[in-house]
């Protein structure tokens, strides 16, 4: 019997069908969604939003190579995005100069392939900065990444010829040879450019997780000591992963260079580094699709919610804290939990639990929004009044405070009730 099993060793691995449904299919669906979106004739505003989402998807996925797969918390990942992007803008200018001047290498380099430059420079920066950073994981790694980010951000304002000072460096994407008949002028042509690189970047990062190095990165995250005793140097594993993460961040930077045609020192500062951390974590770092989800949701919030409310960063902070405290699996974890729950035997029980939680969260959220929005208008002092759904809610009115306190209190009470019931259920 045993001889047979070993001969059929392949039956141990997932079958071709499983591989297809679990690996190929999700990526194919993802690519398909990207490819059919233009059929719905999105507006230019929508296209811009989608392009930014594409950039952020690759950026967040590259970040998760560190945090999710490697267990490395970085506060300076935008450094590689920014340096890759700056390199791409400089290359874009070189293309422009070469095509109006004496030609040469840059005259024949298509703008379409600028993300390759971004990848190269991002990886190079990763190789240089990663060397001292990757000796330790955990808090020392986080602190070094923070220190390096501060240093590069400060240098950004110091070296004008590279970073362009306050105004940054700008270029023009409509130069050089055209590829696939795309002039890259109008935004819908840029969409195809972004789509191409988003799909390529996503597939590339996914493929990385399937390589021996990618697998050992996960092993190093969970148990660096054991990794040493199966012949691997954990520092080397971290270092190599760091270079690839830097490269893919640079790729995203190259995409952004073509989309915006400008890079400012802001791009290497702490703010975008924090944002990509939020994207990956809110989306869910333990799932490959998590950062994609996070990038889509946060990009949407960033551009849409900021129109509705000045306090969108506050809502974002609250969302992040709630995820850290109550749902470490992130949005992807919640989705996966729902999906598994619906197929479990105690389905009805779970649904009732969720219903309680949803009601509690919605109520608390309503109260919170009312409080924040009223407070903002009071803070601005223009005498503006918060008027949701035709209601009139000035600071001094009793109704306002009822609408704030009642849902907040009720929401928290319900959530507490749900939590204690769960505990009793487990006991």
């Amino acid at each position: 019997m045993s001889d047979q099993t070993v001969q059929n060793f392949e039956s141990l691995a997932p079958s071709a069908g499983q591989k297809f449904t679990q690996r190929v299919l999700p990526l194919a669906v993802f690519a398909l969604i990207i490819l059919i979106i233009p059929m719905f004739n999105p507006s230019n505003l929508m296209l811009t939003l989608l392009n930014v989402m594409g950039i952020n998807i690759v950026f967040a996925l590259s970040y998760n190579m560190l945090l999710g797969r490697g267990g490395l918390l970085s506060f300076g990942h935008a450094v590689y995005f920014g340096l890759g992007g700056y390199a791409a803008v400089h290359a874009m200018r070189a293309i422009e100069n070469a095509s109006y001047g004496d030609g040469g290498f840059w005259a024949s380099y298509p703008v379409f392939f600028l993300p390759v430059i971004g990848f190269g420079v991002g990886a190079l920066a990763g190789a240089i900065i990663g060397w001292p950073s990757c000796r330790r994981a955990g808090t020392p790694f986080a602190m070094i990444s923070l220190g390096v980010a501060e240093l590069i951000a400060a240098a950004g304002f110091m070296f004008g010829s590279i970073f362009g000072g306050e105004e940054g460096i700008s270029g023009d994407r409509m130069n050089g040879p055209e590829l696939f008949g795309l002039s890259l002028g109008p935004i819908n042509e840029v969409y195809w450019f972004i789509a191409f690189w988003t799909i390529l970047g996503t597939v590339g990062i996914y493929a990385f997780t399937r390589t021996p190095l990618g697998k050992m990165s996960e092993a190093t995250r969970d148990n660096p000591e054991r990794v040493e005793f199966v012949g691997y140097d954990p520092q080397r594993v971290r270092y190599l992963v760091f270079i690839f993460a830097g490269g893919f961040a640079g790729l995203a930077g190259g995409m952004a260079a073509v989309q915006y045609e400008i890079f400012t020192p802001e791009a290497v500062s702490l703010a975008p580094s924090g944002m990509v951390l939020l994207m990956a974590y809110i989306g869910g770092i333990r799932y490959f699709a998590g950062p994609i989800l996070g990038a889509v949701v946060l990009t949407y919030m960033q551009s849409m919610l900021s129109d509705y409310s000045e306090a969108w960063l506050l809502y974002l902070g609250i969302l992040f804290m709630a995820i850290v405290m109550f749902a470490p699996g992130g949005l992807a974890g919640i989705v996966a939990g729902l999906f598994n729950g619906l197929r479990a035997d105690d389905r009805s029980e779970r649904v009732s639990k969720w219903a309680i939680m949803v009601v509690g969260c919605v109520l608390a959220f309503v109260g919170l929004v009312a409080l924040v929005e009223v407070a903002i208008r009071w803070s601005n002092g223009y005498g503006e009044v918060f008027e949701p759904f035709g209601m009139h809610l000035p600071t001094a009115s009793v109704l306002t405070w009822v609408l704030i306190v009642l849902p907040l209190a009720a929401g928290f009470a319900i959530l507490r009730f749900g939590a204690t019931r769960n505990k009793e259920g487990q006991a």
Partner: protein
Amino acid sequence: METIVFSLLNGVIYGLLLFMLSSGLTLIFSMMGVLNFAHASFYMLGAYFAYTISEASSFWIALIFAPILVGLIGAAVERWGLRTVHVNGHVAELLFTFGLAYLIDEVVKIIWGRNAVDYRVPELLDFPLFELFGAQYPAYRIFTLFVALAMLAGLWFILNRTRAGLIIQAALTHPHMVGHLGHNVPRIFMTVFGVGCALAGLAGVIGGNYLVTDPAMAVQMGPIVFVVVVVGGLGSLMGAFLAAMLLGLLQTFAVAIDTRFADIFGFLGLSETSEVGAISIASLAPMLPFLLLVIILMVRPRGLMGDREL
């Protein structure tokens, strides 16, 4: 000579301020392993509370009550926030405080607006104390010096002369042992977190009007506080003190030096008009702490006086 004396004075005061700010974080980090990202946010809260209280009553009342208020908020954050996250490990805790810093920033902007508030030095102390080389030296700076020294003395007294202080000292170097001795660890953690935040709040009361009170003050100070704690070393208040002084003096002196790279490396042919040559030592001042941080982490991961590695 003039520059040196002034830089020395200002450097010491700035260093003491940094120490006030970081001593709390050293306590928290050494005992709980939490590198509190929001620590500088509590410093900011201290400044804003002091502003509001001194508007309503007086600076002296603010000096006492603003830190207490900040400490209570800190304790509450530990009790109802950090404790929940604790089970998920240090990275989760770091992320929690990272989010908290975001949140406090936004709340401060809503309550006090996006611009700097007019938090002023109290009139009683708003006079030149003495004259040095023809320049007047403000009394408030010397007051700052004394408050910082008083805090230092108080901290030393509590840590070395009281029972609670001895427990804390034991916990600094051997965080796991204290629980075995039958002490209520969660309560100690909550107290230490609260006290640490209150110290940051005190630094805010003193520093808010010495420097500027605006919503960006937390982001400016936050990373520097980390540098002090990491460079000083885990479990060592003395190390934090040395690191704070070092940074304070380093930054103040760097700002005062008007030399450019071209002046130093001129013999290598570096010209004043070139980009690198035009960089002045003064403009490097904000980078120095982080350079120090990276170098220390690479060369000596336990910090100046730390008893164990980070």
